[in-house]
């Protein structure tokens, strides 16, 4: 971060110009907005509608935050008040200014947005893991000892939301923004301003989310099931709803942007057939997100209406129904798992090919399997409602669809194992994480079958088995995939080399701690422990204690990682431009990556996995064009 080019930095004469506009002025104006909106609405409702006041405080905060951070400055100056401007000022208006403060401004450069997402993801993971350790602490002993049930429920809910949000953005945010445009040979995203908007929307939701702590928390867990969420009297629940609404808007905008970028900004020769698998993974993921997240948004709007305006979408006594919420929620909730999974799986394929020095085994087969997963996973949400008593006639189709997903997932494993097989397997930290991911993904995937199968779900639903299963898929598989990408792209994004010994230590602590923790919880689930237990019953005490002890290893791994990142940023070795010998385009540009990425846009003549063949991937536009060296592979 210290080597950013400062050529285009606008000279700012004093501190005031430095802070305005930036996130600081955004926060100042946002707080003013929150107070003003709150006072006005409180006066209108004569203090009778706490929820209305709280929601309007949040709305005021978000609107004025965006004014304060200068989201409208460029638009306003260009549209209505354009005077004399130096090229540097023009760049600043476009959100392309340089210097350290660009990370705290409404900057549109995709690399800055990627870095912002990366920092946010890591902070969310850190905070979310602290919640996890509090949960393990409480569950280490029978009875509610360390926290009251109310505090415990809030911790579980906050841990859930932080982790789910972090894992939704963890790959598509940092790497989808920083790496993806370079990978397809573009100078920026298709809608740079929208890109900044989607990041800062996410940012603006953070204070709202944490404000729940001052309003009594929320009791519903991350799923926010109605009518419990409507019945809840403290306004802490409003914070949950507004957070989700803003987050869903942010994710939808980001998805729109990524899809458009990949559709229109691919460089010459970057056909869909030559598109790196990582790009496929991200595009499929955000396409799925485009159908999923608006539903989540709607469901929370409905909950807020029930809470603020006393409508009754979900109140049975007035004609509402809680199944409506469950369906809306899981229509988002299950595709969302694949929104998280697809980019991580794609990272794994990318990393495996590079570190095996071998082309992806059955590349089209792999892409086909990712596409198939995307299609199938849009229609599996009903398996969360097997025991709900609603729509029993649909149980069989949901079950069929869910289990069909195991076929393309099997192809994913075939492709990765085939890529490893007889490769020059250079076991680095990213590859270790891919290995861990594959092991955990097998366990997570297979236990998913137990929950998808009607007779076994009948005894496992709502139990600790479910918790252990989705931690194996989301954490053991997908977060491991994220860390593979993190160690893989860190040298490109930050220009420094993470310490590989500490990286390996991180991996082994995480892998052993994670498996110990959640294999114990599988057992607790099998013998009948329900989820969300503030009060662990005596029969499950041993399994929970073992899980909590193993969680200490995970905690150690968290602090090892923090230490590694901090010392690397302070005094790490400089990384090479092509640190690992990758063949995708991001490794062809210098580190740190210049503002517009490429001096000349490259022309692509082959797939990026042509290991074992002498032709290079890309030529400068001036360079001689070579015919595509790879014929379509004779497969499937």
């Amino acid at each position: 971060m210290s080597q950013v080019s400062i050529t285009a930095e606008v000279k700012r004469p004093n501190l005031t110009r430095r802070l305005f506009p930036s996130v600081v002025s955004g926060i100042v104006l946002g707080i003013i907005g929150a107070v003003v909106f709150g006072v006005i609405v409180n006066a209108i409702t004569q203090g009778n509608n706490q929820d209305a006041t709280v929601v309007s405080v949040y709305i005021g905060w978000v609107l004025l935050f965006f004014v304060g951070i200068g989201a409208f400055n460029g638009v306003w100056r260009w549209g209505f008040a354009r005077g004399e401007a130096t090229p540097a000022e023009e760049l600043e208006l476009a959100g392309k200014d340089q210097g350290l403060w660009r990370y705290f401004r409404y900057t549109t450069d995709h690399k800055v947005v990627g870095m912002q997402y990366l920092a946010t993801t890591l902070i969310f993971f850190f905070l979310g893991s602290m919640g996890a350790f509090m949960i393990r602490l409480e569950q280490s002993r029978p009875g509610a000892i360390f926290f009251t049930p109310s505090t415990y429920n809030t911790i579980v809910g906050m841990h859930g939301i932080l982790m789910i949000v972090a894992s939704i953005i963890m790959v598509s945010g940092p790497f989808g923004n920083f790496v993806l445009p370079i990978m397809i040979g573009a100078r920026d995203m298709a809608f740079p301003r929208l890109n900044a908007l989607s990041y800062w929307l996410l940012f603006s939701a953070v204070p709202i989310f944490f404000s729940t702590l001052f309003f009594g928390g929320f009791p519903t867990g991350w799923t926010g099931y109605a009518p419990l969420s409507v019945q809840e009297l403290t306004p802490g629940m409003d914070a949950y709803c507004v957070t989700i609404i803003i987050f869903a808007a942010s994710t939808t905008l980001a998805a729109l942007n990524i899809v458009t970028t990949v559709m229109v900004l691919r460089t010459r020769g970057m056909t869909w057939g030559r598109l790196p698998i990582f790009v496929w993974g991200v595009v499929l993921s955000v396409l799925l997100g485009l159908s999923a997240f608006p539903t989540f948004l709607i469901s929370q709007v409905m909950v807020l209406m029930d809470r603020v305006f006393q409508t009754s979408f979900f109140i049975a006594a007035y004609g509402g129904n809680n199944w409506l919420y469950e369906h809306l929620f899981w229509f988002m909730g299950h595709p969302e798992v694949y929104v998280i999974a697809l980019p991580s799986m794609a990272v794994a394929a990318e990393v495996t090919a590079v570190f095996s020095r071998k082309t992806v085994f059955g590349r089209r087969m792999l892409i086909g399997s990712l596409v198939t997963i995307t299609i199938l996973s849009a229609l599996v949400w009903g398996h969360h409602l097997y025991t709900s008593g609603s729509a029993t006639a649909l149980d069989a189709p949901y079950m069929l669809d869910t289990e069909l997903i195991s076929i393309p997932t099997g192809f994913f494993f075939l492709a990765l194992i085939g890529t490893f097989w007889r490769g020059k397997v250079w076991v680095t930290v990213p590859l270790l994480f891919v290995g861990g991911m594959l092991v955990n993904f097998v366990i997570g995937g297979i236990t998913g079958i137990y929950l998808a199968d009607l007779p076994t779900d009948e005894i496992l639903h709502g139990g600790m088995f479910v918790t252990a299963h989705f931690h194996f898929t989301l954490v053991g598989s997908m977060v491991f995939g994220f860390f593979a990408g993190f160690y893989y792209w860190f040298p490109k994004m930050l220009g420094k080399r993470l310490n590989p010994r500490l990286g390996a230590l991180h991996f082994w602590l995480f892998m052993i701690g994670f498996n110990g923790t959640f294999l114990s919880l599988f057992y607790a689930g099998l013998i009948g422990e329900p989820r969300w237990s503030a009060n662990v019953a005596p029969p499950f005490a041993t399994a929970n204690l073992i899980a909590s002890l193993f969680a200490i290893l995970i905690a150690a791994s968290v602090f090892v990682t923090v230490y590694n990142v901090v010392i690397t940023l302070k005094s790490g070795e400089l990384a090479e431009a092509n640190e690992w010998g990758g063949k995708t385009l991001e490794w062809t540009v210098p580190t740190p990556v210049p503002l517009e990425n490429f001096e000349h846009l490259p022309v692509v003549t082959s797939t990026p996995y042509d290991y074992g063949t002498p032709e290079p991937l890309a030529e400068d536009a001036e360079g001689a064009l070579k015919p595509a060296p790879l014929l379509p592979q004779p497969e499937s």
């Binding site: 109310s150 419990l228 020095r357 195991s406 097998v442 074992g612």
Partner: protein
């Protein structure tokens, strides 16, 4: 895998002369470990799985064991080939040479799809069949128990006996008599579960959901738990259910103000 690798071996870089047949080795390791694994699953299942008190619970435990036994070779396939690759094909330093590219033969995806598809279809058909068996039971002398959930306790009514046990910490069921629970909720969503009987269904406000007819077969004491997060004291929503002899049940139901 087999075809794929043989094809790869014929690539440009000839393998060393005494290069072992990696594929055969890996497959042997896989088969041996799978056999051991399946045997372990079958032996250990009876110690790990919870005791059951009904036919339904027995079927559920059998299904769990069957799924796990099927899963063992699938998981070991990935584990063995992954570990083998990372240990045997490992290079210490940044490789200066690329590996020989491997391409799957056209038949490989088809074979792979056939195997995974067959497994998958078996699971679906088996699951549907087992589920149908579990839910299709009918009987003439079913004991109906009306379960009402509220934050944070269960109430049980025995309409056939004219008894109710609102707020009681314990209910009883007669052994070997089919029972059916009609479950509803007074406030928010709850989940009604008795693991040993294999009963689990949501308690929805404003709706009555009916469980499968289940016959408790073992006298003993079991627990009712709430399995949907229902607010503050969700994890305290426990209750005892005792399966007792018919005579004991009759005297208990009388003590609750009902008639046998």
């Amino acid at each position: 895998m087999s075809e794929a690798n043989n094809e790869g071996n014929t690539g440009s870089v000839a393998p060393a002369r005494e290069e072992p047949n990696h594929l055969r080795r890996a497959i042997i390791i896989w088969v041996v470990l799978s056999v051991i694994g399946i045997a372990l699953v079958i032996v250990l299942a009876q110690f790990i799985l919870p005791p059951t008190a009904s036919e339904l619970g027995n079927t559920d435990n059998f299904t769990l064991t069957l799924l796990t036994a099927l899963a063992v070779p699938v998981a070991l396939f990935v584990f063995v080939f992954l570990a083998y690759s990372m240990l045997v094909f490992r290079v210490k330093e940044k490789p200066t040479q690329d590996a020989v590219p491997l391409k799957p033969r056209p038949s490989l995806p088809i074979v792979w799809m056939g195997i995974t598809g067959a497994l998958c279809l078996f699971l679906v058909i088996y699951g549907l069949f087992a589920f149908y068996q579990e839910t299709s039971a009918s009987s003439t002398n079913t004991l109906v128990v009306k379960v009402t959930a509220q934050q944070w306790q269960w109430s049980f009514d025995y309409p056939q006996n004219g008894a109710s046990s609102a707020g009681a910490q314990l209910i009883e069921l007669p052994v070997n008599r089919p029972v059916q629970f009609n479950v509803t909720s007074d406030d928010v969503l709850h989940g009604f579960a008795i693991l040993a009987l294999g009963v689990r269904v949501d308690a929805n406000p404003g709706e009555v959901t009916t469980t499968a007819i289940v016959t408790p077969t073992v006298i003993g004491s079991y627990t009712v738990v709430c399995v949907e997060l229902c607010g503050l004291f969700h994890s305290y929503m426990w209750e005892q259910v005792k399966v007792v002899s018919v005579a004991d049940f009759n005297s208990w139901i009388t003590s609750q103000g009902g008639h046998p």
